[in-house]
């Protein structure tokens, strides 16, 4: 059969094909979006990219809370009564078509005056007339055309955000000054002892002085601050010799021009700061569309519907929920607090919390935990706790979340810089003492020259450029690392801990085994066709596993929520579902099972097993040589035997771990000196990810979900994990080599300095030359490293 894909979203139209305007659509939603676009002359959308759309979701009643004044107030960045501006995060933005359609929103709703997309951040900034339209209408419009904004509790607090652009300013100032100072110092480089240069020398020199002022006091300020902080905590970090170098350069140069000793080193000074800032800028590369700091707030809704006897149903802010409140949770809504189910059939998806994709059925009176998502129909619940005190959210009150991981880590650069600073200072003092006896007039000159030339510009640049480039290469390979120090820590790892569900298993359960009486062909057809009508995840999985059968229309089909489904065709009747529904004994096996009976006779059962990610055993076998491997799972021991077979025998398997247990396990091993890499996916791993030396969140879709972590790895690249770790180790080697390279430059420079021959022009050549060659060296080697990764 030829597969027909939807014109709008590109999905396969497997069962229902809706033809409209000579095009095929997979559902009515996609057709409606196409209609909206074609009515408004916006079909260009489809010319820019084939099948760019998303399947629109049902949204009825979901955004009622957006009509509340105080919520609108928090979500809009500008509001003067008739014009409002809001920035909405839309995870679906993925291609140029998206930019185009979102910037043409005013054609769909004339009351929207402008909309601007930031592709990197996946946001759209909408300006609209709030007298005629409303925030709710804007959001609904976006949702109907398949660009549903993601509004979470996180948006509630931020409001207007200030972008920190100071590094760009500083880089601009330093670059501007560097260029001008270079150009002003040229006449004296080619010093012709003539009348002309004698006459205008002071003008050039004082102009250079003027240009260097903002460089030292504005652009280079961070180095002084950091050096001061380092010294106060008795740490000789790399910024100490840098700050010393900048200060000595500036003072010596100023003294030089005041007393007419020479032209000063303003060129080297501004160049040094410029290159250093360039390194910082390069390292700063961040993934604006990813957030590494997420906690539960990013996933929780801003408001839910409260039922009260006085006011009926009305939206209420999540923070205002009190114990005893009655809440209405609609389909696809998140449960914000712990509570008790009062009314309705609950089928809760706890995948946010545990990473487990299978839903759990609850009966009236059962306890519901915050973080679960209702997946079938409407339920009513009574709150037992407030948001902050709920079982899941309490995890965030642990100390780990307020600690800064980088604090306790000494980087390679800082380790070197300690020895380096001591060495430079002793060389400076020894050579000064020597010159005091030989030629006292030159002593001060030599002392400052040593400090100037030894300024570790090249050393300070090695790490930023190596790591910065590697971050970029990793990013291309779908391994998104928060910052450079994570790569450094990754290279020191000796223990790797994996979460089970969702991390080493894939979210789709695609392995099922049948035990029992064989089904005859007509029963098989009936089974397949009955499953077709059900939306339950297990039915979908089983449907996909079974062989193709021709489609028949059932005489009767019924879905019993939380129990199973039944279907009738001609004389045959089939029941699929839980043991009690089908009429058999519950088994003691812990794995998920689906039982089948035909014509009231028990036939057999399908047992589902976790399906492990591709290349899992291979990866573990590669890793076992160098690392201790542990599986830390929140699940029961149902998969123990399976894992034993799959993984190397040394691997530790630990089950039934609560989120706090995972955290404590890691903490305990860290006190024993282990450097731990934790790989997890759900919010229940958040504590463990924060406690570990490096926490990597594995994610099927990097845009949607990941708990706070140091790095996000795309699930499809999971089997490459060992390569990423070894690349980090190679990066450390590259840095060590470039340290060596910069030492060679320093020794050459020191020769000139110690012998008292350091002319400004030598400094002006040596300093940029060493910096540039370090940049070239690290860039080339990391690119070679990146080639090996692919």
């Amino acid at each position: 059969m030829d597969k027909i894909s939807c014109y709008h979203c590109g999905d396969d139209c497997n069962n229902t094909i809706i033809a409209f305007d000579d095009k095929n659509f997979c559902c009515n939603g996609c057709k409606t979006v196409y209609e909206i676009f074609s009515e408004n002359d916006l079909t260009c959308y489809y010319d820019l990219q084939a099948a760019p759309g998303a399947v629109p979701k049902e949204i009825q009643g979901k955004y009622d809370f957006l009509s509340q004044e105080n919520i609108i107030e928090k979500l809009t960045e500008f509001n003067d009564g008739n014009t409002q501006i809001t920035t909405l995060y839309i995870p679906h933005i993925h291609c140029s078509s998206c930019i185009w359609i979102l910037e043409n929103l005013n054609k769909l709703n004339p009351n929207i005056s402008s909309s601007q997309v930031n592709f990197g951040k996946k946001t759209v900034r909408v300006t609209y007339n709030s007298e005629i339209t409303s925030l709710k209408e804007v959001v609904l419009l976006l949702a109907t055309i398949g660009y549903e904004p993601y509004i979470s509790l996180d948006d509630f607090k931020t409001g207007q955000q200030n972008v920190n652009r100071s590094l760009i300013y500083k880089l601009g100032v330093a670059g501007f000054a560097f260029g001008n100072v270079m150009f002003l110092s040229f006449p004296e480089y080619f010093q012709v002892d003539g009348f002309w240069i004698e006459q205008y020398k002071p003008v050039f020199r004082w102009l250079m002085f003027a240009f260097s002022l903002p460089v030292v006091f504005y652009a280079g300020r961070d180095y002084f601050v950091s050096a001061y902080k380092g010294l106060r905590s008795k740490l000789l970090n790399i910024d100490v010799p840098i700050a010393l170098g900048i200060a000595v350069l500036f003072i010596r140069s100023t003294v030089d021009i005041i007393f007419d000793f020479g032209s000063g080193f303003f060129d080297s000074l501004t160049g040094l700061v410029f290159f250093l800032l360039l390194g910082k800028f390069f390292q700063q590369k961040t993934y604006t569309f990813l957030s590494f700091e997420r906690d539960y707030k990013s996933y929780f809704p801003i408001a839910v519907t409260k039922i009260s006897s006085k006011m009926g149903e009305h939206p209420i802010q999540v923070y205002d929920i009190k114990k005893g409140d009655r809440l209405l949770i609609r389909n696809e809504e998140l449960i914000p607090v712990d509570g008790i189910l009062i009314n309705g059939k609950a089928r809760i998806d706890y995948s946010f919390v545990t990473g487990e994709s299978e839903t759990v059925s609850k009966k009236s009176g059962d306890k519901l935990f915050a973080g679960g998502k209702q997946t079938s129909g409407v339920i009513e619940m009574e709150a037992l706790k407030s948001v902050e005190q709920s079982y899941l959210t309490q995890l965030w009150s642990n100390d780990v979340f307020s600690k800064n991981k980088e604090d306790g880590f000494t980087t390679l650069t800082n380790k070197i810089s300690k020895k380096f600073t001591i060495a430079v200072l002793s060389i400076a003092f020894v050579s000064t003492t020597f010159w005091l006896f030989v030629d006292a007039s030159k002593a001060m000159n030599v002392f400052t020259a040593v400090l100037i030339i030894a300024c570790p510009c090249a050393i300070a640049l090695s790490a930023p450029f190596t790591f910065g480039n590697l971050l970029r290469i990793f990013g291309k390979l779908k391994f998104y690392v928060k910052n450079a120090s994570v790569i450094e820590q990754l290279a020191e790892i000796d223990t790797i801990i994996f979460d089970k569900t969702g991390t080493i298993t894939s979210n789709k359960k695609s392995r099922a085994q049948y035990d029992g009486m064989a089904l005859n062909p007509s029963e098989e057809t009936l089974l397949k066709n009955t499953l077709r009508g059900s939306n339950h995840p297990l039915s979908r999985t089983l449907y996909d596993i079974l062989d193709e059968h021709h489609i028949i229309s059932l005489n009767h089909f019924e879905e019993h929520l939380g129990k199973g489904i039944e279907g009738t065709y001609n004389e045959n009747h089939i029941k699929i579902g839980s043991a009690s529904f089908v009429g058999t004994q519950e088994s003691t096996i812990l794995n998920t099972q689906v039982h089948i009976s035909a014509n009231n006779k028990y036939k057999g059962k399908y047992t589902f097993y976790n399906s492990y990610r591709k290349g899992l055993s291979k990866l573990f076998n590669k890793l076992k040589k160098n690392y201790d491997l542990v599986i830390l799972s929140g699940d029961n021991e149902g998969e123990f035997d399976n894992l034993k077979k799959l993984l190397p025998s040394k691997t530790k398997l630990i089950f039934n771990q609560k989120p706090d247990d995972k955290l404590d396990y890691i903490k305990y091993h860290q006190t024993e000196g282990a450097k731990i890499l934790m790989i997890g996916d759900g919010l229940n791993d958040a504590g463990a990810l924060a406690q570990s030396n490096v926490g990597i969140a594995l994610s099927e879709n990097v845009n949607v979900f990941s708990p706070a972590c140091d790095a996000i790895l795309d699930a499809s690249k999971f089997n490459q994990l060992n390569k990423f770790i070894s690349a980090s180790k190679s990066a450390i080697k590259i840095i060590k080599w470039s340290f060596l390279l910069s030492f060679i430059y320093n020794i050459i420079g020191l020769y000139f300095a110690v012998t008292g021959q350091l002319a400004p022009v030598i400094a002006a050549i040596l300093m940029p030359l060493s910096s540039i060659s370090i940049v070239v060296f690290t860039t080339i080697t990391t690119n070679l490293l990146g080639k090996k990764l692919k």
């Binding site: 002359d41 930019i99 601009g172 501007f176 260029g179 150009f183 003008v203």
Partner: protein, 61 residues
């Protein structure tokens, strides 16, 4: 008064003008998003092209 002063002041003024232009560009957020404008630029034609077409047809009829 030597010509060097005039040359120096002109060159510095020009440099400062560019520097101010850079600062205002950063302040207006032109460096915040370096991808979207490059795509947006390509759509400017699309929008213009759409509008006049029908009107020309009407005139011909």
């Amino acid at each position: 008064m030597s010509v060097i002063y005039i040359l120096l002041s002109i060159s510095i003024i020009i440099a400062v003008v560019f520097f101010i232009a850079f600062i205002t560009a950063v302040r207006k957020g032109q460096f915040d998003d370096s991808y979207t404008p490059s795509v947006r630029m390509l759509f400017d034609d699309e929008l213009v092209k759409k509008q006049p077409k029908p009107s020309i047809k009407i005139k011909k009829d």
